[in-house]
């Protein structure tokens, strides 16, 4: 009997939420009265800016590395290969918002440890200037920030009812995955790491843009 009611109930709920779905209504996620009200569009803008910055840093570091090291035979097997990511526009558009958010979070989580490891190894490198070292540190920090931002976005989306699964559900699945690829991540060379991360940061940026233009298409879409 409840199953029969599920459809209409959901329909009613959607009706109720329809005003909020637009995305421009300010939301305070944690329920604090004093918190700064941010719309979903603003949240998206922020995370997209973050991701653009991360990708810029990874590109710079990659080109720096190319100057110092001869381009060796790069093993293009990145440790994030197990994560299924859409490789085309149609594929990405076909993916549901939830899945897309999930992919983003998976990627960000998978890169947390390797990046901090990379930063530490950069500090020991004598060939590099401190400028490159600073970039690596900044990159590592920003990825953390980005991950937190995307989690916030996902939470907001979840509150809005756009996604059914909460962030915790998404993360818990990936926790196992990251452990599995941990050994693989450690065996990467710096050059390979940068090559892989440059690509993955670009993926993150594109996926976020797609998500934003799908959900809050006010500006820039």
């Amino acid at each position: 009997m409840f199953r029969k009611l599920k459809g209409p109930v959901l329909f009613l709920l959607m009706f109720l939420d329809v005003q909020i779905i637009v995305g421009s209504t300010p939301i305070c996620v944690h329920g604090h009265t004093g918190c700064q009200a941010l719309s979903l569009a603003d949240l998206f803008d922020r995370v997209i800016q973050h991701s653009a910055r991360v990708h810029g840093l990874s590109s710079d570091l990659h080109s720096d590395f190319d100057q110092y090291f001869l381009p060796s035979k790069i093993n293009r097997n990145c440790h994030t290969s197990y994560i299924l990511t859409p490789n085309g526009k149609e594929n990405a558009q076909r993916l549901a918002g939830e899945d897309l958010a999930g992919v983003i979070l998976k990627l960000l989580l998978a890169w947390r440890d390797p990046l901090s490891q990379f930063h530490r190894s950069m500090a020991q490198h004598e060939d590099f200037t401190s400028f490159s070292g600073n970039k690596a540190l900044e990159m590592s920090d920003m990825v953390q920030q980005l991950r937190l931002g995307v989690e916030r976005v996902a939470e907001t989306m979840h509150l809005l009812g756009m996604i059914s699964n909460s962030v915790r559900g998404l993360i818990s699945k990936e926790a196992l995955g990251s452990q599995a690829s941990g050994s693989e991540a450690r065996s990467m060379t710096d050059q390979q790491l940068l090559y892989c991360f440059r690509r993955d940061s670009h993926k993150i940026q594109i996926y976020l843009k797609i998500l934003k233009c799908r959900i809050a298409p006010e500006q820039g879409c």
Binding site: A52, H55, S59, R76, N77, S81, T85, N87, G88, K89, E90, A92, Q93, R199, H202, K203, I206, K209, I210, L211, K212, C213, R214, P217, G220, C221
Partner: protein
């Protein structure tokens, strides 16, 4: 024979050419991949450059491998992108996948592989040019602006967020060479302000993905701005007119007041001024008037000789002129005028500026002179204030002539020049004979006794009241020398002289024992002493100009005066000797 040879050579050449033609054929040269581009990140194309074809028809084919896969694919579309190209459709394109592409050239003789190229589509995006670029003149009549709008290339999917494009504008006037660049970001419109009226503008737009290559420029759009005079221009015109008016007013005022401006900028040099003397009158040349002005000073002069500012009296004879001058140099403190001397109030012998310091007098002299003074005072009926003149005189910086310093030394005298003998007139010229040694010794003594009544007359200026100089009128009169003693100083410009009797100069005239006084009226620069004979008659006023006529005020004593001024020139009132002093006789003659 010859024909045979030529024929054989012909055949040989034909064969060789054939063989060579056949040898030109070879496997193809190595092709080269020039570029791969994706316009919208969904498809892409690659172009290559063929090598030599080896003389045979050559076939080009492109093969590619995807990342982490060993499957080799061949390009399926060689025509869409033009000659020597390969077009990868949507189905064949994967983003974030590395393609390894190789081109193979093959002909019947062989094949040649190009170098492999790794391509990742995300990095080779170059969009098409922006579309529907339009430029419209907007805004008000006096404040127009250009509104430029465009659209992204139709293939690039910016709506879904798959590709993000940024735009760039270029604007210029039609007549200019250089383009003005503007960055428009992600917006699809742009405003251009500050337009030149009556000009034609050219605008073009291009775009770029956030990571990729710039597109080609769009077609140029032209727009014409109509003519108008801006508010700014009219404001400037007003300001210019106003400032021009102000300038005109200023110039006119300056012109009207040009004299005062000239005085302000170039102040006139003040000429010398003499009290009581009128240069204009002098220029007019009327002698009567001149003398009347000169004789403005009253006589007898007031007796408070405290006010007398000392002027140095320098008397010397011709031979010792150099010595005197040397003396001057040694002292280095000679003055012709000391009307505002800082030693006033000090003893005359104390003054630095006086040679008189060097002359000192013993106390005995003081008593003697005081006696003389007293007699004179009684004679002249002066008040008793003269009694203490000795001490008073010392306060003056007026060099007084000491009658004698030591018995064995020749005192300083004012010697009346010889001319007076001839004319029987009291010659009021003062002639002071000095000897070098006298000065020296007197200098020593002067230092010891600063406050002495009389001092030697200082050889400051050429008090060359020297009758010798009157060559024209009187001629030198050697041999006769009259001496007067400067008793004291009255006022600031009066030197009371008194003739003294000398045993050694027995031939002195009797008249010398009498008291005849000539009052020195003033000093003229360095070489003239103005002497005024103390008589009841008027004296000429001082004249302190060097070059002009020096006036002497000479007066006949009421009593018996044997010192007569020399008459030099009867007609003229003034006469300047070569040495620069005035013959008082000349003046006297006019009275």
């Amino acid at each position: 024979m010859m024909r045979g040879a030529t024929g054989a050579s012909l055949v040989l050449s034909l064969l060789i050419s054939r063989l060579l033609g056949a040898a030109c054929q070879s496997p193809p040269g190595k092709p080269k991949l020039t570029s791969c581009r994706s316009p919208e990140k969904e498809t892409f194309s690659c172009w290559w450059e063929p090598g030599s074809n080896g003389g045979l028809p050559t076939n080009y084919s492109l093969y590619y491998r995807k990342e982490n896969s060993e499957i080799v694919y061949e390009c399926s579309d060689y025509h869409t992108s033009g000659r020597n190209s390969c077009f990868f459709s949507k189905n064949d394109t994967s983003i974030w996948v590395n393609y390894n592409i190789t081109v193979v050239a093959s002909n019947s003789l062989g094949s040649n592989f190009s170098d492999s190229v790794d391509v990742d589509v995300m990095y080779i995006v170059q969009p098409h040019t922006p579309e529907n670029v339009s430029v419209v003149l907007e805004g008000t009549e006096d404040n127009p602006f250009l509104l430029v709008t465009w659209e992204p290339p139709h293939k690039a999917d910016t709506r879904s967020g798959w590709i993000t494009l940024v735009y760039q504008l270029r604007v210029k006037l039609e007549k200019d060479d250089k383009w003005e660049e503007h960055f428009a970001g992600q917006q699809k419109q742009f405003n251009i302000f500050s337009l030149h009226s009556g000009e034609v503008y050219m605008v073009k737009v291009r775009c770029k993905p956030d990571h990729g290559f710039w597109s080609e420029w769009s077609t140029v759009r032209y727009v014409r701005v109509p003519d108008y005079i801006s508010r700014e221009m009219s404001g400037w015109i007003l300001i210019l007119t106003f400032s021009a008016l102000i300038c005109i007013v200023f110039v006119w005022t300056a012109h009207m007041k040009r004299n005062s401006v000239k005085h302000f900028l170039l102040p006139p040099v003040p000429g010398p001024k003499i009290k009581g003397f009128d240069t204009q009158q002098l220029k007019s040349g009327k002698s009567d008037e001149i003398f009347s002005t000169l004789v403005a000073q009253s006589f007898p002069p007031p007796s408070d000789y405290e006010d007398l500012l000392v002027e140095y009296l320098e008397v010397y004879d011709n031979e010792e002129q150099e010595l005197v001058f040397d003396r001057k140099d040694q002292e280095g403190s000679l003055k012709s005028k000391s009307s505002s001397d800082t030693d006033s109030g000090r003893g005359s012998c104390d003054s630095h500026s006086l040679l008189m310091e060097k002359c000192s007098e013993s106390r005995e002299d003081q008593t003697l002179t005081s006696q003389v003074k007293n007699s004179e005072a009684s004679r002249r009926g002066n008040d008793g204030s003269h009694a203490g003149e000795c001490a008073d005189v010392t306060t003056q910086t007026w060099p007084t002539i000491s009658p004698y310093y030591h018995h064995d030394q020749k005192p300083c005298y004012q010697s009346i020049p010889e001319m007076s003998e001839q004319h029987g007139v009291l010659d009021s010229h003062l002639f002071l004979t000095q000897q070098q040694d006298y000065w020296e010794t007197s200098a020593e003594l002067d230092q010891k006794n600063p406050y002495i009544g009389y001092s030697c007359v200082q050889a400051y200026s050429e008090m060359t009241i020297n009758g010798v100089a009157h060559t024209e009128a009187t001629g030198p009169q050697p041999g006769f020398v009259e001496y007067v003693e400067v008793q004291h100083v009255k006022q600031e410009n009066t030197l009371i002289l008194k003739p003294i009797a000398q045993e050694e100069h027995g031939h002195f005239r009797r008249e010398m024992t009498e008291h005849h006084y000539s009052k020195v009226n003033g000093m003229v620069s360095d070489n003239v002493l103005l002497v005024q004979r103390e008589t009841a008659s008027q004296c000429l006023s001082d004249h302190q100009e060097e070059e002009n006529g020096l006036e002497n005020c000479t007066q006949q004593m009421a009593g018996k005066s044997t010192v007569h001024p020399q008459v030099v020139l009867a007609q003229e009132g003034l006469h300047i000797t070569l040495n620069g002093y005035v013959d008082t006789a000349a003046i006297m003659s006019t009275y």
